[in-house]
Amino acid sequence: MRRYFGRKLLIYGLTFFVAVTVNWMIPRFMPGDPVASMVARANVTKPEAVEAMRAYYTNLFGLDQPLWQQYLNFWGALLRGDFGVSIWLFPTPVSDVITTAVPYTLALIVPSVLLSWVVGNRFGAYAARRKLLDNTVLPVGYVLTAMPYMWLAVLLAWAFGVILGWFPVAGGYSFSMRPNWSWTFLLDLLHHWTLPFLSLFLVALGGWAIGMRNMIIYELESDYSNYLSALGAPSRLIRRYAFRNAVLPQITGLALQLGVLVAGALVTEIVFAYPGLGSLILKAIQNKDFFLLQGTFLFIVLGVLIANFIIDIVYVVVDPRTRAGMAGAQA
């Protein structure tokens, strides 16, 4: 087990290292003079912002210093939690901008991912080998997984927001309100949260249901299932065993899908103008706020790595083979 976690942590450490290095390299090895082109592209009207930006870039890049020194400085700033200053919201530090957006993204992504995983697995397991259900679940599942996240989001916003008028289609809360801890505000939050949540939930649901259905069919054909049914065990019991085996690849699948799910959350937020990381990225791109963009990138990578590690721990809890040091999950 120690070897298992050691290997995982090594991979995650390396990944973070690669991500930071990429983040450092791209602005530096981009063709042309980075400082000049970025200041020019920033298109900032405030002269003090332009000046601060130029000074900050030159200072941060430390272009007179040798490359290795620049690289070390970059790491140093990062470890102090210094992501630079946002240009869009000058002079707020990038880390502050990100921390105000993160709760919204987490509130969307965590419930939708977990719920779609649980419900999708239940649904898929139930539909497998049941002719009528299978014939409906499977096509619907394929359509759902094939949908681009933003398109379902747009369709839902159009149907429930614009035509029916049941839900608001923009923002994290009503524009007339200010964030506070009253019940009216929390209800308002929930009201705005429903549609983005629903669209994320639905797209992810299809994939899990299909995966689970396929795994269950595979497990029901295995020797232990045949043996159990030959002994006369009730089919509910056999299905329960099959489910426990089939859920393991689905846990690994969850880890593999994290990147896609995060991407889905980002574009969904943009559709609903939800004040999370996705909208932040859009603003950063529109305002050429590269510090904000890079900060968000590192934040997302870090979040995905942490989620991966949590899934690894869950896997060890669920699959006893990994605990015994036998072959279970591959690193």
């Binding site: 991979i11 995650y12 390396l14 990944t15 690669v18 991500a19 990429v22 983040n23 791209i26 602005p27 981009m30 096509p139 394929y142 359509v143 997984t145 094939a146 949908m147 681009p148 996240y149 933003m150 398109w151 747009v154 369709l155 916003a157 159009w158 927001g161 614009v162 289609v169 994939g207 995966g211 396929n214 795994m215 595979y218 699948g253 593999l256 994290l258 990147g259 896609v260 995060v262 991407a263 889905g264 980002l266 574009v267 943009i270 559709v271 990225i281 859009l282 791109i285 529109q286 590269f290 963009l293 890079q294 968000t296 990138f297 997302i300 990578v301 995905v304 790595l305 991966n308 690193a331």
Partner: protein
């Protein structure tokens, strides 16, 4: 997630005929490929027949679908159908380029790691796992934002460069199970080199698997490209289905009720990717006798 069992090697000619026989009778495969083929032809021939530049402003903004404008017009009077057929083109281009590059890298890494084993495998596997964990879209965001991607081809290139790891992992696992077979041993004993064994002995025996991997990579590339376009980092030249969605969203087609602006592009992406997934299940049944419906 498709589960694919290994296929026992048989005589090539007989296998091919048998596969064709079952392929022609497989409803999923035929429907899936049929839908993709129709949309592909529409993207291929549509721009030639429709004529006119896709982003050209027209005199009649915001008209609903009619005989003159099949899919209506945008706020700027652009013909949605013209944009749609051009967009289909770039969507297929991104899928082929992104999926193709990812498949080639995935195959190279997967075959070499799986066949050579040992330290080579350790290093390649570590590399695969590291890139696998990094969220693809986040990396592409950074790259596209800095480099300012202009053409569909470059967008496809970068998508391909970031999308290969899971394919490499799957191919590596598959190669592992093949490399201890007798015919591989025989080839090795007869003095064939690594490249020759991989190309002549191992790859042909999992060609169906490789093809299905490519299909999944194609679908993935199309979805990622549409997300990138939607965020505003799409190709700055030309049209794509994702860019259409982005424009519709940006110019509040939703609030104005211009449903004909945002429904067709999303529906086309869903149809292409969904049809490919269904065709993939059909292919699985064709190549794997265990899964065939009796």
């Amino acid at each position: 997630m498709t589960v694919i069992q290994e296929v026992a090697p048989r005589e090539p000619a007989g296998v091919r005929r048998e596969a064709l026989y079952f392929a022609a009778r497989n409803g999923k495969l035929m429907t899936g490929f049929g839908i993709v083929a129709v949309l592909f032809l529409l993207g291929l021939l549509g721009p030639l027949l429709v004529g006119g530049a896709p982003n050209e402003y027209g005199p009649k903004p915001m008209t609903p679908p009619s005989g003159e404008h099949w899919f209506g017009t945008t706020t700027f009077g652009q013909d949605v159908f013209t944009q749609f057929v051009h967009g289909l083109r770039s969507t297929f281009a991104v899928g082929v380029i992104g999926g193709g590059i990812a498949a080639v890298i995935g195959m190279l890494v997967g075959f070499v790691a799986g066949y050579r084993g040992g330290i080579v495998d350790e290093i390649l596997n570590m590399l695969t796992n590291v890139i696998l964990v990094i969220p693809t879209l986040a990396v592409l965001l950074i790259i596209n934002a800095y480099l300012g991607i202009r053409s569909v081809a470059v967008q496809g290139l970068f998508i391909g460069l970031t999308q290969w790891p899971w394919a490499a992992r799957a191919i590596r696992a598959q190669t592992f199970s093949l490399r201890t077979r007798e015919f591989v041993d025989l080839a090795r004993m007869s003095g064939a080199g690594t490249g020759r064994i991989i190309a002549r002995e191992i790859a042909p025996n999992m060609s169906s698997y490789l093809f299905m991997t490519f299909i999944l990579l194609f679908g993935g590339s199309v979805l990622i490209a549409s997300s990138l376009d939607f965020i505003g980092l799409g190709p700055t030249e030309g049209v794509s289905l994702g860019l259409m969605l982005q424009n519709a969203n940006q110019w509040s087609a939703l609030q104005l009720g211009l449903w004909w602006w945002f429904v067709p592009p999303g529906a086309a992406i869903t149809a292409i990717v969904g049809a490919l997934y269904v065709a993939n299940v059909g292919l699985d049944e064709v190549f794997n006798p265990k899964l065939r419906e009796t």
